[in-house]
Symmetry: D2
Subunit: 492 residues, 4 copies
């Protein structure tokens, strides 16, 4: 089956009966809802670019299962080249959308589940690997978007899943039937859940035997019975609803999306169950998914960073200060930080290696190092962008004011006249273009896009401390001690 | 005359005919407008605390002109103790509002104009100093709020005021009459202009003879004929308009305010003109105002920082992770950074010295160092706060959802039920309290309050590069070279 | 009695029978030993400047005990002005020596012991305060240098003093006699022990009842029987012994000094014992001494920083790059960091308050914040200095080579000729002056002076973690939580 | 011909008549000179590991010219795999020596000259490429060490080579003969010049037509007539000469080396001349050499960093604090920074591409980003190591004291006894082992090895500003501006 176009993807969503709630109401036509649509446009871009011959090599791959051309987002990495191309594709999409484009979680889930089910089967004689391959072939053939769902509500963080007051605070198997399982619980801050066709659900932490019921991994359609989503608020979200808001939105077409996904006793047929009780593999699955997803940030956030740097440079040009040495130096620093992130994304890919299943996985230490830098540098890039742009991005009047013909001046000038008069820049640019760039930067620095570029950089794929624990584990401190013992001559 | 209460202050605003435009419309009752009122509440707090015996010493002073008790915001600093108390008062107000409380600009303008007019008169035999004292006595007696207005639109930043295509891009004297002057132009991103009774307008840069018409300083009522304001947008501003928005606003009572203030041929009687053509004093006035205002940030932003640290600590407690060593260490770092800022505010005050007029001024080098740190540390404090809080602050559903009784669950549960179920924290706190803290942090990190705590920290009182230039000038590099020559024995 | 001159001070040292060991040998004439003398010169500078009318106000004070003029290093702070002047005096001395001048530890010990003995007496009815005042009057009258000794060897850091395998790993009272006590143990990395006339010994940590024997504070002459010192090595120390070394030493006249001070059963008469078993006051004494000493670094290291900045600027001038914007910006950053440190030193002083004894103490939170910054910024200042200077400071030939007349060239040129030819700078400076500046920077960045400017900044007056614990304790997190509760409306 | 062993390499040096001066004297047996030998041992390690089957794959390659097995240091990179293996080999050698092992400059010169001569020939029809290949085959066959020499003295940095007062301040062709050229000038801070068999000399900056005589590249034996070296001083260099110094040296076997290399009218036969007057290729040669060398630092310094981390961890263990959360967190941070550097080294390799000559070159932007990070992170790693180690590393007595049997105690204890008594650590380690680790860290942080790990990281392969210029040039700011224009809809 051919790859979908962006338009086909959007149409395909309309066929879903996904239940979405926002502001206390059920949203019927969520596909065209102004607050949701920008996030759908981002995903659509993953389809559009795959159709573009210029990007085809990066955006598509050949399925190792079917030999067909597939969107790279459905690919199981077959080489370090594949791992690097994944990062490059993500940078490209970040450049085109300046947003989180949401399709990565599924890709990272595919690769984590693929290699882990292989090893579960090896130990337990189960057939999860075959089940999963079958599911994946469907995804590849139908060119579907699948969300990866990991983070549980967690409740009291000092207690294990089974030890919570409310047993539902981690998603769990409530009932095992002949033909499948019934699951209950929720997944929090799910990126891109609404515009996905399917979900893959995974556990969120390593588990012990007592947590057996929580060691569950499965796939289900986004409109499965009992499943619904409550849309999360973002900074400045309702600007998208404003009439005449125009440039105030910042990024007119693209955006991100997070939701609480509730599993209210959802039935999962056996063919879509990929782990059920094998608690000793929960840790591996989490670690691999997190590893892949930490790599991802070395691509997507770098692409967004490229646009932020461009916006800061454009603001400097429009402000007439692009040649000031301090401005140039700040742009260099932003570029330096952004390319350092990219280097980390590339390095953990280039140093990848095959898993037992044959698929390739990133270098775990370097992927965690990558993400740790992501929790820092975008914040500094944003600070430098705000520095270069100047204060107007947070004090300028509304788009409506710029367009207002209400007369307020002694000589008949309108509000719009005054806005245009006083917010002129270097004299060569259109004042509205200058304003658009400021609003874009406001959006990235403290608007809706800041959710993706800042907070998600901090907490997505695991909070900073999670990476530090992995760095400690993978850092081989004992080996390093031996190095110095050898050099200074310490024998014990 | 007695000091006003907060309520009296708010009533006093109703008597003004200040013209305010927002979203293309004239706002008639701006005092009660939900988007404007929080910033008025902040200023009201400067009156309320002055009435509170607990804070009286900090909040009031004895006028050196009349001997009466006055609000410290109208005080001319008579000692380094006064300078330090100014900073402490600002920290207190930051703690009480978690916002910019807007009354500092006027105070800093008073002190800059006071000492500068004394020196203009000394050179030119003018009587600006007496005029200004008379004006100030009125302000002190009537306990007025006065905004200090400095930043012009500037147009092409590489050109001087007189060399702009549009002569109005810097505010200027358009006409000199017997009894006063007519001024035209605008001041950008004016903090607290709408809720001020009067404005003091100052030039924004050092000037040459060609810019003589632009070297003007004066006071005028906020509702002077020809004067009007266009309200600036802030991140998440319209949440304040939402019905049922509740906690989504983040800071339910307080906020900041910026506007474009247009002077559309405003007549200023001579008694309120404090500089008119003495272009060689424009630089001194700017430098002193900026110096005082850079000191200010070592108080107000520290107070806000205290609340941010408290909010992060509370979030950690509600999340059940307050005892984790990584969390404790981050809170220490936030405290360390915040107190470093405070140290800078105190140090430039303690090292102040008298001006020729007898009033005290801060140490200019240290005040610039203070502000330079302010352009950095709040950003890191915010990053650490986001780190501790976790991602929920940007992904949680709306307040309406938490209160919704729309039934969505198999067992009759409402949206609100599910929100409460899944966003429970350590089990000891009220879930809504937890959510309030997240929304407060969202507001400070990327909502309306981020405008004050982040961008204003960067650009208010001059962008980072402005401080660097001052640090270079005041750093006495030649003297430092001599130190090393003396030590290593270099004679030239 | 009059204050001593520098020369008199040096002569006074010759009368001491202080036992000093270095490289396995007893050093008889340590006063003139080339490795020790630079540190003596530093202390001498504290006498010389006190005689200089230009610095008299800063360098001397009026004794609150005798009314006589005394060196400020023997002063008990009577006001916040005194506390600020202490910091300014230290900055001055740092500027004159580019070294640790070693006399601060005693001054800080005086002030800690003075206020603490007052409170011990208050609780226990002892007469330590009177004893100490008597001792201090002698110090003031005779203008003596007294070293403060705190850091014990500590052994296994996870165990208390009494629980160590070897009871001597913390200094202790071995025997109590009628007329005094016998003490045993050692103090590590003692700065300025050899060139001090007396020592004040203090405990190094808060203690419990089991550590009673370790809760001891006393004074003793540096040449007491049973007391001796083992000199510590510094980077590049033996360059001071080289014939023809000349500029290779870096700082030709000044330097620091550390030693292990061993108390091999030293008898202390009762009149010099200021604490003996009052273990519940050990913590207060440590905290106060550390507090004062953390303040000190906000003066002395800033003075050294001034010379480092000067040296970097001079190197840039000699290299011909002083006008490059990148160089100027780095000098600004160095200045900014250095003045931030100074601000912290001033702020904790200006915010000082009286102790029960009437003497003034710094603000503890801000003093710890001050020191915490000292553990960071000098490292960055050094890095920037190395950046500006260029690599020659670590690759240039020896002074001997520059002066060598060994012929090596085809046309009869000597090694010296080639060195002068190829290491010429901007063409305007003497090549040897350029080399001197490089050697000075090498000395500060990685030579003997780096011990004082870098490692001592890190560990002196307590390692970074010690300050973080104090910042946590003093940071009033509960109060900060209340601030946010008040604002968002949380009642519990 | 077979690869040399380490011992054979050292013997091969004895056959050279290299002229070396130090402290004003000619060093006859420089191979065994205690100050020089450690740097020879480092190079010997590049031979030893190539013989070790465990490291053979990394340390050797197959010559693309002869098909023979060669040391990788003589390899022309044939793939990105080769580029990555180069970095891994360098990390390994850094781990084994904790030093600069000096053989990289030649390798980087080979690759830069190889690809550049190909392109010169292409344009000018010269035969430099063939000449160079012939030379390289000799190097590969005889397994020689070749130094790459680039940095000229430069004199007044604001003037071009031809515009200097002294024409020799950049190395130049003084005379062209039928059979070769005569060159004059010098190269500064040459790493590893003395222990190299040959040198490749390159220009140090891009040049114009007036600088034609300076656009020269050639190879010459290290003991060519007219060539000599003046050894550069390093911090603590003479500790290596001390009798009984022992552990005070820090790194007992390995070290670095820098020298001034003087070309006092040296004749170069035509077959070794690879550029002569093609000034328009000087920039390419410099840029490529610098690019390769900036990549190198992402390997070698990472290896040294591994040993520093190990030493800090070992010091923590011996101090008994390895389980403190603050210590663990610092080790994580050191690891994180070090692996970020490695990621940069790997990424610029993995993103390499073929030159016209067919050989592979790194990604220039990422290589410059790599080096820019190297100018920062080792400084922070060092600071953290000093933090963990504690102050003893700069205050402990000499090795002689630890071994001294001079009796100084009341009970017959020697200096050595006291040193061992008081510097005991956690009770489980040998005190001397603890001391060795401290001395190792002293050496890296502020001793001889700090020259390599710190200053060389800053200035080697170009000072920080050089990388920033390249990052600016390669950063494609215009393309980034277009990205934001596309997103916000700006058409011009």
């Amino acid at each position: 089956m051919a790859l979908m176009t962006g338009a086909q993807y959007i149409e395909s969503l309309r066929k879903l009966n996904t239940r979405v709630y926002m502001f206390g109401e059920k949203i019927e036509n969520w596909v065209d809802h102004p607050m949701i649509r920008p996030s759908i446009n981002c995903v659509a871009m993953t389809y559009e670019l795959a159709q573009d011959p210029q990007y085809e090599d990066l955006m598509t791959a050949k399925s190792h299962l079917t030999g067909e051309k597939i969107n790279r987002f459905s690919n199981i990495h077959q080489s370090t080249e594949d791992l690097k191309n994944k990062v490059k594709m993500q940078r490209l999409l970040g450049q085109k959308t300046a947003s989180c484009f949401q399709r990565c979680v599924g890709m990272d889930a595919f690769n984590a589940v693929y290699s882990t089910t292989f090893e579960i089967d090896e130990k337990y004689g189960t057939d999860y690997f075959e089940r999963f391959k079958k599911f994946l072939i469907m995804v590849q053939n139908e060119d579907l978007v699948v969300d990866g769902a990991m983070t549980d509500p967690k409740g009291d963080r000092s207690r294990a899943p089974h030890a919570q007051d409310d047993p539902d605070l981690f998603l769990r198997v409530k009932e095992v039937r002949e033909d499948g399982i019934v699951v209950r619980g929720a997944k929090c801050h799910q990126t891109g859940s609404i515009n996905s066709h399917w979900h893959i659900v995974m556990p969120t932490i390593a588990m012990g035997e007592d947590d057996k019921d929580y060691a569950v991994c499965f796939a289900c359609p986004s409109d499965a019975e009992g499943l619904f989503m409550v849309y999360g608020r973002q900074s400045c979200d309702t600007r998208k609803l404003e009439e005449g808001g125009g440039m105030d939105v910042g990024n007119p077409k693209f955006g991100g999306q997070e939701a609480l996904v509730v599993f209210d006793d959802v039935f999962i047929p056996n063919e879509y169950v990929f782990m059920n009780g094998e608690y000793d593999f929960a840790g591996m699955l989490v670690e691999r998914f997190a590893g892949f997803h930490r790599q991802s940030y070395g691509g997507c956030k770098v692409g967004v960073g490229d646009v932020v740097i461009g916006a800061a440079a454009l603001a400097a040009e429009y402000n007439g200060v692009e040649k000031a040495s301090a401005v140039k130096d700040k742009l260099i620093e932003m570029t330096h930080l952004n390319e350092t992130l990219y280097s980390c994304g590339i390095a953990c890919s280039a140093e990848g290696h095959p898993t037992k299943s044959g698929s390739y996985i990133i270098d775990l230490l370097l992927a965690n190092v990558c993400k740790q830098n992501i929790t820092r540098f975008p914040y500094e890039i944003v600070r430098l962008a705000e520095d270069i742009a100047g204060g107007l991005m947070v004090t300028m009047p509304s788009n409506v004011d710029f367009n207002s013909d209400l007369v307020v001046g002694r000589e008949g000038e309108t509000i719009g006249d005054f806005c245009h008069k006083f917010f002129v820049g270097n004299g060569k640019c259109d004042t509205m273009d200058r304003m658009k760039v400021f609003r874009f930067l406001e959006n990235i620095c403290l608007g809706a896009a800041a959710v993706g570029y800042r907070t998600e950089s901090l907490h997505g794929a695991g909070s900073p401390q999670a990476q530090r624990i992995m760095i400690q584990r993978q850092g081989n401190i004992q080996g390093k001690k031996q190095l110095v013992k050898d050099i200074v001559g310490i024998e014990e």
